[in-house]
């Protein structure tokens, strides 16, 4: 049985690259470094897939030709999904520019909360290796870590710190509705504490913590639903930390103003650094979210949620919402760009749609054009960006004869529309 070493995993923003895989037919078993998500992801295998036009099997060439016709007839196409690698982002930007399209990643507003917070206040940030090697105090906000990135605990929290950072157990406070890991009590490396509150109360809890840290008094009624004892204990630990980290997932408050909460966290971090060292870290960014943000920013100046008009990118972070626009008929064509969409499936809008996705992704309705594409890191090589936006993974091609990369299909559609296939943004 052939085994593959140090395989990078494309299935969440943590970007583990220590997986050992065994090939099993066209699929793979993760024999070391596994988590539920990577086990499921690498086990995916598909038959030799056909493209389809309105449900009928079609050659790639004729499906591409139909895609050109559909897209060429659209006035307000929206590109969503966007769960792809750097090459895929380049190609989709070039195509969207060519046809005056709009772009919204499948994480939508939630995925942009971090960017919006930076655009208000900036922040202080840190990365996985810094937290792992230095942080003796970690505050997880609205996430237990594992719910967002299954191996965060193993790869970061439970890992010994650098010799300079001491050997005492790492203190980890989990603020929010998420419970602690089942075996938290018997973890020698980490001293866990849960500060329970609802997701909706997170902004108040962070506000209360801020008051406690600043030594300001708090109206007792404001703390009624909050774990005030635990927050008090946490506030007492903050000055003792030699390096602290605040960690959150992707979308902090579902559907809400998570960017305002993140701004409160970022300004708290900025101010804590007047006395000691702290950094913030988002561990979301999966489904190609971080990759999209990086490559879109260097090409257009914006991390996402843009529309092209005569080649210029226009940024509409709060208005440009793919789901809503498709519902209201404000877009007249949908292009789903997948590969790394994981459990997310394309919307099933009333408007003509073109879906580029791996063959096993469930579709709510048969699109006008379906083009099978491969999974970056399994069917083709590429680059994926990790949640901290600093490290990128050299995704590998692990098997042959799978569907092509999304970037190739997008470039060919672009050529059909008369575009140059370069992201002339």
């Amino acid at each position: 049985m052939s085994s593959l070493q140090n395989v990078p995993c494309p299935f969440c923003g943590l970007g583990c690259d220590d997986l050992m895989l065994h090939a099993r037919g066209a699929a793979f078993t993760v024999v070391s470094g596994a988590c539920p998500r990577s086990l499921a992801g690498f086990a995916r295998a598909f038959d030799k897939p056909d493209a389809r036009v309105r449900g009928q099997p079609a050659s790639t060439a004729s499906a591409l030709a139909e895609a050109v016709t559909v897209l060429g007839g659209a006035r307000q196409p929206i590109f969503t999904g966007l769960a792809t690698d750097v090459a895929g982002v380049r190609s989709v930007l070039a195509l969207a520019r060519q046809c005056d399209g709009m772009l919204d990643h499948l994480h939508g507003a939630g995925g942009l909360q971090g960017v919006l917070a930076l655009q208000s206040s900036g922040g202080m940030t840190t990365t996985l290796a810094e937290v792992r090697n230095r942080a003796d105090l970690v505050i997880l906000v609205g996430s237990s870590g594992e719910d967002v990135a299954p191996r965060f605990r193993e790869r970061v929290l439970s890992h010994p710190r650098h010799e300079h950072a001491g050997t005492s157990p790492r203190r980890v406070f989990v603020l929010g509705p998420q419970g602690l890991p089942a075996d938290a009590d018997s973890d020698p490396a980490v001293e866990w504490r849960h500060l329970a509150c609802t997701a909706a109360d997170l902004p108040y809890a962070v506000g209360a913590l801020r008051c406690l840290v600043d030594g300001r008094s708090l109206d007792p009624r404001a703390g009624e639903n909050l774990p005030m004892d635990g927050l008090g204990a946490l506030a007492a630990r903050i000055p003792e930390a030699s390096y602290g980290a605040i960690v959150w997932g992707g979308e902090l408050i579902p559907g809400g103003h998570g960017d305002l909460l993140l701004e409160a966290i970022q300004t708290l971090l900025q101010d804590l650094n007047a006395e000691s060292r702290w950094g913030g870290l988002a561990i979301g960014g999966g489904e190609g979210g971080a990759t999209m943000e990086e490559a879109c920013t260097w090409n257009t100046g914006y991390a996402g949620r843009i529309r092209f008009r005569s080649g210029e990118a226009i940024y509409e972070p709060r208005l440009l919402d793919a789901a809503r626009m498709l519902e209201r008929g404000e877009a007249d064509c949908m292009v789903w760009v997948g590969g790394l969409e994981g459990d997310h499936s394309p919307p099933a809008p009333d408007v003509p749609s073109i879906v580029l996705a791996p063959p096993d992704v469930p579709l709510g309705r048969e699109p006008e054009v379906y083009l099978p594409v491969g999974i970056p890191g399994i069917d083709h090589s590429g680059t994926g960006v990790r949640c901290d936006h600093v490290v990128s993974l050299p995704l590998r091609q692990l098997r042959k004869d799978g569907p092509p990369p999304a970037s190739q299909m997008l470039d060919r559609i672009n050529e059909g529309l008369g575009g140059r296939g370069v992201s002339a943004c």
């Binding site: 090459a87 380049r90 930076l118 810094e130 650098h162 260097w298 090589s381 600093v390």
Partner: protein
């Protein structure tokens, strides 16, 4: 195709050509010797009356890596438009970067602060810069591995192996150190670091780091001298730190970057003065030292630096008030602080003067390079204006007269009569940086050199002249006409290759297992990461080993 650029006034300092009327021939992307009489060019372009130079080379410009994206995020185009009328700059997209450089007749720009662990992504970002050749300088000297080696007193050979391995893994052209040891010390909550101050954990001093890295670069035969962003950036009185830094390398080649930000004294009522004269005097007396200036221009920009220690210290002065500092993967950090330089601010006006005093005070143009430390002092798009300030004394003095009055009084500029010649401009914008980088086939127009050629038409003033190249050829292809991009090409990525003892990989494997969040096997940049999308190619340059 054989092309003839006919009868231009050629400025090619590498060949000592100073404005003589010459013909330039090129074929297949390379300059060729004038063919024998009777040979007819496939295409002849009459450039009589125009100025012909090699394509411009910016050896210090922040054009790639996560910190540039953070700057774009903090000052996105729509928000940039709020603070200044022009939509473009101060932090252009990769696309705009290529276009704006090309229209000025530039053909290469180098990212000087490439975080090694970010190399793959930084190269992919730079691969999206059209028209330009590019490359990066790998940042070392705040990474736990090197600090650990030095703390353990490891011999120089091991340091050299590590540096050589890093050049290859990151596909970089040179090595840079930023605030030696200081970025790491900041992670231990230390807020300042002088040249002989010990690191709070490793115990090593900036001086030791400078010596080890400059020796490694020298012994490995990397032509580009160690690129040094010295300690105490922006601090009044830091000229002494800079003098100590230049002396610390004990005569080995060293390049002090954006030296304007490191040339301040403490004289006068405000405790802030120009240290340009003693700094220039030291540079003039020590031929192992080269510098680039990091000129400040007035207006909105965004400062981007790996120097978290000093960026954190400076954030209260930022504008608009959103800024970010980050600790990065036990290798270094970054700090991004939007900033507005104002001509009616005493400090900013004097910074402007200090930069120009350095340009005029350093005698050997081969050892001083024209930069604004884009975008830290100003956008690179201000180079034509800067060239006019250097070439036109009365323009310079008029500008000086409009500045903050006390800054004017504290400035030495009015007494400096020097005006740069076209020949000197050709040195500080192309021939000099090419020589420092060790790129023999760039920055000149000798047969065999790349046909990277800029043609300028003299206009009312030098700023207008250098604003828009009349013609620009990249590797022999016409890409700019009258300041407009007319064709699209992708340049090359230059990097420096040398051998190392394979034993270093075993040691690094162990270090990565214990301290990195990725495997050493997945760390190096693959060729396909840069060349995969068909944008440009890698060009490996050999080192010139000393032993």
């Amino acid at each position: 195709m054989l092309t003839l650029l006919k009868a231009g006034r050629v400025y090619d300092p590498v060949q000592g050509i100073d404005g003589e009327v010459r013909d330039i021939w090129f074929r297949d992307g390379r300059i060729v010797a004038e063919p024998g009489s009777g040979t007819v060019a496939d295409e002849t372009v009459d450039v009589s009356g125009s100025i012909v130079m090699a394509g411009g080379i910016d050896l210090h410009s922040h054009v790639g890596g996560g910190k540039v994206n953070i700057a774009r995020t903090l000052l996105p185009p729509a928000l940039r438009a709020e603070v200044e009328e022009r939509l473009r700059g101060p932090v252009p997209t990769a696309w705009e970067t290529g276009y704006e450089y090309a229209r000025m007749g530039y053909t290469a720009c180098f990212e000087p602060a490439l975080l090694p662990v970010n190399a793959r992504l930084a190269h992919q970002e730079m691969a999206d810069i059209p028209m330009m050749d590019k490359g990066g300088y790998a940042m070392l000297g705040n990474d736990d591995y090197l600090l650990g080696l030095l703390a353990a007193g490891t011999d120089q050979a091991r340091v050299n192996d590590y540096v050589a391995w890093m050049l290859r893994a990151t596909r970089c052209l040179a090595i840079k150190v930023v605030n030696p040891g200081g970025i790491s010390a900041f992670k231990f909550n230390q807020r300042r670091m002088d040249v002989d101050e010990s690191h709070p954990h490793y115990g090593v001093t900036p001086r030791q780091i400078l010596v080890a890295l400059s020796r490694a670069v020298h012994e490995l035969g990397v032509p580009k001298p160690l690129h040094v962003h010295a300690s105490n950036l922006g601090v009044p009185g830091n000229m002494n730190t800079t003098l100590e830094t230049m002396a610390a390398v004990e005569g080995l080649p060293v390049h002090i970057t954006h030296i304007q930000f490191h040339s301040y004294g403490t004289e006068g009522d405000r405790g802030f003065s120009s240290g340009a004269a003693p700094i220039a005097e030291f540079v003039n007396a020590n031929s192992n030292v080269s510098v680039d200036v990091g000129q400040v221009m007035f207006g909105q920009t965004c400062t981007i630096s790996a120097d978290t220690m000093m960026q954190y210290l400076g954030h209260p002065y930022g504008s608009p008030k959103r800024w970010l500092c980050a600790d990065l993967e036990c290798e270094a950090g970054c700090g991004v602080v939007p900033f507005k330089y104002r001509d009616q601010s005493f400090v900013n006006a004097l910074q402007w003067s200090v930069g120009l005093e350095l340009f005029l005070g350093v005698n050997d143009p081969w050892r001083i390079v024209l930069t604004t430390d884009h975008p830290n002092g100003a956008s690179f798009t201000s180079y034509p204006h800067l060239i006019r300030l250097l070439m036109d004394r009365s323009f310079r003095n008029e500008r000086l007269d409009t500045l903050h009055p006390e800054a004017r009084a504290a400035s030495h500029l009015a007494s400096m009569n020097r005006e740069y010649s076209l020949y000197e401009i050709a040195i500080v914008t192309r021939a000099g940086p090419a020589r420092l980088l060790g790129l023999e086939d760039r920055g000149n127009l000798a047969p065999g050199a790349a046909a990277d050629i800029a043609v300028y038409t003299p206009r009312e003033d030098w700023e207008l002249t250098f604003r828009d190249a009349t013609l620009m050829f990249k590797d022999g292809r016409l890409v700019v006409r009258d300041g407009q991009v007319v064709d699209l090409t992708w340049g090359s990525t230059h990097w420096r290759q040398t051998d190392y003892d394979a034993g270093i990989e075993r040691l690094l494997d162990d270090h990565f297992q214990r301290h990195y969040s990725m495997n050493v096997a997945n760390y190096p940049v693959r060729d396909e990461d840069i060349e995969g999308d068909g944008r440009g190619r890698l060009v490996a340059h050999a080192c010139r080993r000393q032993n």
